[in-house]
Each structure stands twice: as C-alpha cells, then as structure tokens.
Symmetry: D2
Subunit: 359 residues, 4 copies
C-alpha cells in the first residue's frame, strides 16, 4: 500500500480517519491466531495517550473507547484482520473554519492544501495527533506478541527544554511509572514540571527528548543492508508527528568519539562492556538492550496570535484558539512504545520465517 | 522483497554481493524509459566513493569498473531493469581467515555468525562498505531522473571529532567541491585535515557528521502518516553502515526550543523566514530546501590490537591488520547523496501516480 | 501486507470481517482526492450482490448498508483512506454450532481448522461470500476512477450447467441488464431459469461460467514479465470464492488452434481483425477489448445431508440446513466487476507513475 | 518493486535482461542460509528449457551457462541474495532490424512500441522466452528448499492440438520422463510427435495444454481472501509467455457439474475420495495433491509471411525468418515447474512466519 497509511508487512497496521471526521481506527493484520487479547493493556495505553487529567494538556471530555469489529473470537485473536474504530466526539471545527484561509505556521496546513486541495487541508486531518490513537491500539497487539518471548519496551522523558535527566545506564522503571512525565529521576521530574508551568504561563510550547529501551531482544532480528533494525525503527519514529531526529546508542555523541573508545568490547559471556552500539550491529540485534532517543520539536499550536499569510499571499494573523498541549510529553510516550512494538513484531515474524528452515 | 536487500517500490534498487565474493552489483527497476545515461556522472561518483588517492583511506589498486548487463539501449534507459556488476579485485581473505574465530568488536561479525552460521560471518560480507558501491550506481540513475525537474542534492562534512563548520544558511558549493573533505569552509577544512593526521598517527579512527541539502523539491512529495518523506529518508540514511543518528532541520536543537521561536513564519511569497522544518511539513515537502544531518560513528576497524573473545567465549586478542580508513568522510559523502536520490526518485514516481488524476 | 487481506499497491483494498462477526468492511487506500462519490452506484452494486429478491438465492431480510468512516469530504474523496463498515445482521450461528465438529465437504472448514485452530474454523468466516461485500464497495471507487478515462466494465453469464450463450462478438448490454441472470440472450436466459428451477427442486447446486469485457482501455497498461495485466487479473479472479479457472481471449480453445489461425492480424487503424489475444499482448493492454471468462464450481452448501467425518475422523452426516443459493450467478457478477475494476485502477496509477516522466 | 520484474516477497526472484542484450539473469532473495546448492539440478533444468536437440525446436548452438556472482559459500547458500547471469550468445538482430517497422502479429511488438518507444520495442526483449531462463534458475533454488519438506512438483503435456492424454488420476512419472514431450502415455506421445511433424511441414505452430501436480504439500499453506494459493499460482502461470488460461482441479468442467457430484467427500483418514478441489480449499492447501492445467496458445512466430501493417498504418508483409519452435511444449515444462516452485517457496516461508508463534 503506497499512500503511506500502512506500516509493516508480516505484522502490519493500516490506519484511517481524519481528526474531524466520524472516527479514527485501523486494521491490524498478520497478528497470529490464539493470542489472548489483553483489554486492560489497551485501555491503559489509550488512557496514557489521552492523559485527559494531566495539567499541561488540552482536554477532551470523554475517554476514547475502542470498538473491535473483527479478528477476535472468545477474547483471543483468530488470525484474521483485527479492525477497530474509535469514534470522534467533541468535534469542533469552528476554530479551523474561522482560520481556514490563513496558513498555520509550521503545520501541515500548507502542504495538505497544495497536495490535496483547499477543502481537504481543513484541520490537516491525517497529520493530527488524533491519528496516533490507532497506532497505540496496533502497538498493544504487537506487545502481546512480543511478550511471548519476554521482550519488553519502556520509554522515558530524557529532556524537556534544557532540563536533562542524568545519563544512567539503566533507568528505574518504578520511578518512570510513578510520575506523569515518565521521568526516571524524581528531582528532574520536579524541575520539568516547574518549567512546563513557566512555558504554559508564557503561552508557549517547548521541545522534548524521549528515550526508549527494549530488553530481551533475541539475537538475530533485523535484516542486513536496507531493512536494518535501526533503519526500520528510524522510519517508524520519524513518522510520529513532531519528531525531528533519532539517535541509536552513542548517537550524535559518536561524532566526536574515537574508535578505541567507541568499540564495544565483549565480556566472555558474549555481552559487551558498553553499549554504544545500542543493541544493534550491522542492522541486526546483538542481544544487548536496544536503546535510542528521539527529538521532538515544540508543538506548533500556541496560545498566541502569530504573523502569517492567507492562501492568496496576503499578510494575516493566525489567531490563537482552542486549548493546546504545552509539550509532546507525556502523550507521545505510549506512541513511541507502540511504534517500537510494531516494528519489532514485524521483524519477529520475518525472523520466524527464515529461522530453522534448514535442519 | 523482505530480506532487506531492496529499497524503494516504484523506483527501486536491489543490491547483491559480498565484499569477498566475485562481484557486487544490483538491479535498478522502475527507472523510466528514454532517460539519457550520464556515464560521466557514474564514473565520477564511483571514484568519489573509492577515493583511492585520499591520504587517510585504505587503498585498492584498481579503480572500480561498472559493467551494465541490461536496461540500456543506445545510451538511453529502455524502461527495463538495469542490471550492473562491479567485479571484486584484490580480494584478500587472509586477515579475516586468521581472525575467523575471534569476534571483531563493534562489527557485524557476531550478529552475522548467530544469524547465518559461522561460515557466512566471514568478513560479514553484506555489512561491508563494499556493498555501498551498488547504492552509488543506483543513486546516479535516480539523480538523472531528479535532474529533469531541477532537483539537486549536495552533501558536506559538518563535523569531524569536535571540529565543526560554522552554521551557515547556505554552504558554498564551490568550496565544498574544492577540497577532498567536502568541507564548506576552507579554514575548517585545514583543521580537519590536521586532526585526521593526528588520529591516524594514534592508529585510531574518529566519528563525523555529514549534512545534506536538497534544492528545488516540488511541493507535495511525501505521504502523510507512515511514509513521510523524512521517515523514508531516515530509514535510508540509517541503513548506511556506521550511521548512528539523523536529524531534520532544527533536529535535536528543537528539544530546547520554544514554539514561538521554532515556528517557521511565512513570507508573502509562501516561503518561510526560517527553515527549522527542514523543508518538510507533515511528512510532505513544502518547497523549502530539505536539510538533514547524519551522525557517523568512528570506523570500528582500527590499526591496534583489541581485547576480545573467540566464538567459544575465551579471551582472545583481535589483531590489527590490513589498512583502514580513518573516518567515514569523505567516502560516505557520495553514499549519502545516492541514498537521498533513491528516496526522492521513488517518491517522485509516487507523486506522479496520484497527481492530476482527477481533472 | 502478507496475510492476504489486501489487493493492490497504489490503489489498494484491505478487507476485514468474519461472516458471523459484528461487521465486515474495508479500507480503500490510494484513491486520488477530489473524485465525486457516486453513492447510487455503490447502492446499486451492493444490491446486485445481495439480490435478496431473486428466486434462487438465500435471503437476508434487511438490505446491507454501507457506513463511511473516513476519506470523504463534502461527497468527494479527500485523498485519505476510505474506511467503511457494513454491520452483520441476522447472524445465526445455530446451524454452524450444531455441525461444528463435522467437516463440511468441499469447504474451507477443514483447512481453517488446521491453520487457525478449531474455534476459528467456525463458519470459516473469512472464506464466506459475506467478505465479498467489501470488494464490491472497493470496486465502486475503482470504477469511479476508471470512468474518468471512459473505461467501462461489464460482465455476463455465459454458461450455467450445459446451457451456453451463443458465442457473439459483442453482447448487447441492454439485454444483459434486462434479466436477473445477466444473460446476453433472452432465449438462453429462459432456459437457464428453467434449469435453475430444476436444480433447486433436486436440492442441488450447479456451476457457472461468467465472462467479462472491458472497453476503452488505454494502450500500455500492465507490466512485462510478472505483473502482466492478465496475470494480475487472474490472481484477482481466482481469489473469488468458488472460482476454478480463468481464460483470456481464445483461452483453452487456443490449445487446439494453429498459429496461422490464432494470430491477430492488424487493420490499418491498428485494431485487430480478431481478438484472440483478449486485448492483452505481452502482458500489456493493446487497445482492444479485454475479455476473459471465469469458471465457478457448484456451491458446496447443498440442501441435502452429506456423508462426512468429524474432527476425530469418525463417519458422520453433515446435515442440510439453512437456505442456500442454487448457483453463484447472479450474485457473483458484481464481484467479478469489482475485482476487475480494482486491478485496473491499480494498474492505471502505475501507468501514471511512469508515463510522461521524461519529456 | 512495481515494474513487474519481481515475484514473491519472502522468497523472491527478480529477473533482468533483454533477449538481444548482453545477458539475462536475476537475483534470488530470501533463500535461507545453509541449503546445499544442487548444481546438477540447475544444469538439468536449464538444458530441459533449452532442448537444443529436440527436433521441433529452434536451435542455439551453445548451451546456456549460469554464472553465480553472490549468495553461495562453499556450495551452500549463505542467506544473502543469489545473483546469477547467463550471457547471451548467438545474438542475431538482423531479422528484427529488417522487420523493425512492421508490426509482428499477436506479439508484444506493438504494445512495447507504444509503452516504451520505438527503439525499445525491437525484439520486445523482456517479452521473449529468453527471459524465462532466469525463472528456471530461481525455481531450482525454490525446489531445493521445498525438497526439505518432501514437496515434489512434476509437469506433463496433457494436450497438443486435439490430441489429449487420457484422464488418469496419477500419471506415471517414469513414462513422463522417458519421452521428450513429457507425455504420460506412450501411445499418445507418438501421436503427438506425428502431429507436430505435420504442423512443422505446414510451416505452422500449434497450442498445448500442460498439467502440473504437486505432492506432499503440508496442510495450511496459502492465505485466505486475496493471497489464496490458487490465486498466486494463477498469477505466476499467466505470467508465462503464451499462457491463455488456467484451471484448478475440476476447472472448467465444474461449470456443468452439480454440487452433489463435485463436493469432495472425506475418508476417515481426512483425505478426500475425489480431488475436484485440486488440493486447495478456501485458498489453503488441504493435503491432497495440488493439480492444475494451463492453456498455451500456438507460438505467434511462424515460418510464413503474414499480412500486417507498419508503424504508420500502411499494409505491409511481416516476413518469415529465423527458425522457430512448433509448440511451447516441451520447453515450457521446466518453466511451469519453476514458477510453481517459486510460489510454493514463498508461501512456505509465510507459513513459517505465522506458524507456532503462539505456544
């Protein structure tokens, strides 16, 4: 499928739905039969994406509710496509219609207008964060599959503005889950909250860096050359709205490192002393934790009027309106987890296809 | 094709060949008919990748020669698959055989061994930089197609170790092409050369950052949601050996930026005052220059003995041997250009497929 | 997507839904923006597939109703995925549950049981004709696109049992549409109706042959080698439940023909005197009518008890139950049309992608 | 890859090369590592496709020789792409150049001209039977993989002109291999040879029907809905030059059969008494022999002058020239086997991917 609404080949997710349409949803295909459906996981992750009661987020009154239309039989997957929908409520187009002819800065408004025509640029429906809810549902099924092998994914906030968490080898998952920012350090969490408060009071938004760790990945996942595991993860992460960059293991620090320092030396148990490689060598998992970080830009929807132009090129003010999140964190966290799970589930099935074929 | 040796769907490149086998090569498919084949471009880019006469590179005596087997008729493409091979000469397996049972640190040796079996890990043939020659040839055909629309790609070295080029809006292409490091600043170039000299004398290697700019991209290329232009570029770049990260436009700097600063404000000619977006909005080109940077790690092959283990887990020394490059720059430059061209050519044909369908 | 629930790459349809689940539906992706949605066409084709009031069909009381969830804006396509659902009503599992452990002869029951597990074989949900409703909806959008170029598809019944329509070059579309069997000859239609009456009274079912003609296909659609236009049509037709064979142009008659007779000789207007080629040469449309016929087996669900075995291999009777169609005709007609439209729409976009690239 | 030169996704073959270019060849990708390469099988099948010494075939003086460029290590597959070339010798374009402007009846000449331009229509290089040599090589590797599970494929000639072999349940493989026509009946073989002699003396060509049987297919291969095993086989077979139709099991005879007769009744060992289903139910293998037949048209290249037109629409004679085969049989036999093996190998890996995932 080439219109870009599908990810994965053996384990795939196709999403549909505009932010201001009737519903968003998707089809998960290639999920093996007889997997127990963990509805609690789905509900938890959907809520985590929504975070309706977090101070610095815009709020939708009603929680999102996932309806499954197919692919599940007696609370187990049946091997057929799992279709699901989430109805859109509280749809309010008034702000968009009011600003319809004024280009929204740093937003898909202009590119959608040029690619699909004026009418279809309204609210830039597919570019909206609303679409990501389908990714979270798809990711939950991927996680259910990965858990069978003990693979675990967790994400945390490593930076907001200039406030960074200390570099630690293994963040404490309990601390991460104990605060709404998924921050692995309690002191930093408090600083971040204060900073978000300040940004909000300035009617501004701020960027963030999110990190992801995957544990217990079997050795050998990923393909050489073009479908390297890091290449496919990079594509998945850069497909998240507002993502500006990704780095694996040492990442951009590697630019100023020497080989003697950067090379990961083996212990006699085949594990490496350091993990600058980020768990991937030659595009293939090496059994160490896979780790990477993603840079997110400040959300372009701000609570201030902005200088802009209209579709005819006249100077116009793009008016502030609606309520907006101050930062992609924490809502982006379950999305990063989901995208990671989707890529790994697809590679797991590829791994199965070729594995043990020759006795 | 799911073994990961293919990139692109409408304009695709499939590569084959192990570093120490008979030949490397590839098939370019989906290249439209009746395009003039620019053999000089191919020769120039192949040479740029080989840089046999650059001081800090390992040297192969004979230049690589591309033989075309199909897809060309009277020096024009004929619409059919373009198959090409480059024979491997100077193949010397002695160093690899000598070290066969000792794991090479930060190298695909271990992951290939576990995934394909001992014999097939030798030299980790597909993980070798040798494979990238096919990417360069494929990229040349992509460039020939892109040139029809005036699209131009150029890459430069923005950092080696801690030596950075000054941030400038538009690097001077003449300067870039005037020095073997593709450095956009003459003074920085000299510093970088001195530094590479120092690293070489230390028998070490060093990381680098490479930047890429694409000019004259039509508005509307790229697909929303998963196949965003930046997502597909990220995948392509992370598939280059030694790549550790990628960032678009503002990149990781966006993490500490506020929305009021980061938002790209429009001029009345629909161009933006800044280009923190890196030429892509909502995954779709907006007509500004596409710009991104890639982090490369220091080459893991160093001229020193390294502590390691053998395939049984015993401590062993991985011995220094052969000649190795000091840095991925400058050889990686034509590879980055090629991968960029391949992604854009594929998206150009996708763009054509949907464009102007409805009158 | 490799679980087989998707057809097409540039213009694609993904279907979901088990016959006895909540809903069936699909996602149409790659449909260009700004195409007027012809709701009447959809309703007409859905009704044609349902034919609730045709004498020899099983009957569902309520007409199927298509709900669109996305991809449509002001009655035009907006370039985004078009998701739709048709709720399942009148779901009655009692007959299936009663016979759950007895293998249904010539039915997907056994293969689904072995592939997906016992529970998921119940009613063999995805093998049911119910799934084809999503194909009909998808096909309507493909037709809307094809009509822009004047491409027209029509299907007719060429044989039921041993009753054949006379071989005529160009069947009369008015006659085809004037009778519920889509028979191009009024006399044959009456014979067929009598025959179906007889088969029904025997509590049996009967096979049929359906033919399809596509007019005004532009020259040059289809790709050489593997994705020949006839190859892709063959795949699409053989994916229809109960299809046993397909033939293009002369088809199986070609086996006993000589080259001097079979070769299609050109008139000076580049059209051919005969059309044994069926409108396709070397896998590429040549501007003549595309024509092919499909063999369908007698429906395996019959109104008689049948000898069978249970899942443990014991002899058992598979009991007659429910109401069943006597023949795949006429309900299969809109499905054949839809599958034809889907293949052609996908190839049309491929054609666009490569066409006119080089000036 | 969408230019149609690739078949399969997990086990894939990409072919290249024009009949009158330097070489033909291909890349086999996704072949698992550590499979013994059976060079004798390859040589045998290549010879069978060439049949240089068969009376009724055109003759190339030198046998085709396959060179492997990659993917093989110590006579085993190494898990990487297997690239191979077969150089074109005896290339003689004189007949084509002489007739360049006269359309060759029932040939890809016209469609290639319109799709790729005049120059690229010469000899219609990719439509030539020469391309199929790469399919045979690819098919051999697929067979090597399938043999691990005991899967066996064999093909025979079931009809030439009006001369048919008697319908028998299980043709004798020894007889098939004992005569150059792969005819399962010695008496029929002699009649066929006489008939071919007669056709040749008439300077004409004749159609043929080829049948294929696959034994020991595991239950559960194939996907429901669009990627049914029969659908994928149909596509593969119709991609063979000169193929006009395909039928599975009962095939076109099913049109005149009743359900009570056609339904395959189970024995208590889960095998069926008849096999009208052709080994596939609901698109999934049921453990019975897979069987299908393909109709081939008479070869359009005949040894007589033919009435035609030139590229300007003037009446012209297309002159007889060169030597041509009298019938696609026997050279098409190894091609049918190869295409069958390629489809099954791809589905085998898909089967592996999903199988046993959930414990």
């Amino acid at each position: 499928m080439m219109s870009g609404n599908q990810l994965g080949v053996l384990f795939s997710l196709t999403t549909f739905g505009e932010a201001h349409g009737n519903a968003v949803g998707g089809i998960i295909d290639g999920c093996p039969a007889n997997l127990n459906v963990d509805y609690e996981l789905i509900e938890k992750k959907i809520k985590a994406r929504q975070t309706a009661n977090f101070t610095f987020n815009s709020q939708r009154k009603e929680p999102d509710k996932v309806e499954f239309l197919s692919g599940i039989n007696k609370d187990k997957t049946n091997g057929f496509p799992i279709a699901f929908i989430i109805k859109n409520k509280d749809v309010n187009l008034s702000h968009y219609i009011e600003n319809q002819d004024v280009l929204k800065p740093s937003h898909a408004h202009y590119t959608y207008w040029k690619k699909y025509g004026t009418d279809n640029a309204l609210g830039s429906g597919r570019a909206s964060a609303r679409e990501t809810i389908a990714r979270v549902v798809g990711g939950c099924f991927a996680m259910m599959l990965l858990r069978q092998l003990g693979i675990e994914i967790y994400c945390f906030t490593s930076q907001i503005g200039n406030i960074k968490t200390r570099k630690i080898k293994k963040p404490n998952r309990n601390i991460i889950q104990s605060n709404p920012l998924y921050c692995p350090c309690t002191t930093t969490y408090e600083k971040m909250m204060d900073y978000l408060q300040q940004i909000q009071s300035e009617k501004d938004t701020i960027g963030a860096k999110v990190s992801c760790i995957v544990e217990n990945v079997p050795i050998g996942m990923g393909e050489p050359v073009f479908d390297k595991l890091n290449a496919d993860l990079a594509k998945a992460m850069l497909s998240i709205p507002a993502a500006k960059g990704i780095e694996f293991g040492s990442g951009f620090r590697a630019v100023s490192m020497k080989g003697t320092k950067h090379n990961d030396i083996y212990n006699t148990n085949f594990q490496t002393k350091n993990n600058y490689s980020g768990g991937i060598q030659g595009g293939i998992s090496n059994g160490e934790d896979i780790c990477f970080s993603i840079a997110f830009k400040p959300i372009p929807s701000i609570m201030q009027d902005q200088q802009s132009i209209d579709t005819k090129g006249n100077n116009k003010i793009y008016k502030a309106g609606g309520r907006h999140d101050v930062c992609v964190v924490p809502r982006v966290i379950p999305i990063v987890e989901a995208m990671t799970a989707l890529v790994l589930a697809d590679h797991l099935l590829r791994f199965n296809a070729y594995k043990n074929t020759i006795v």
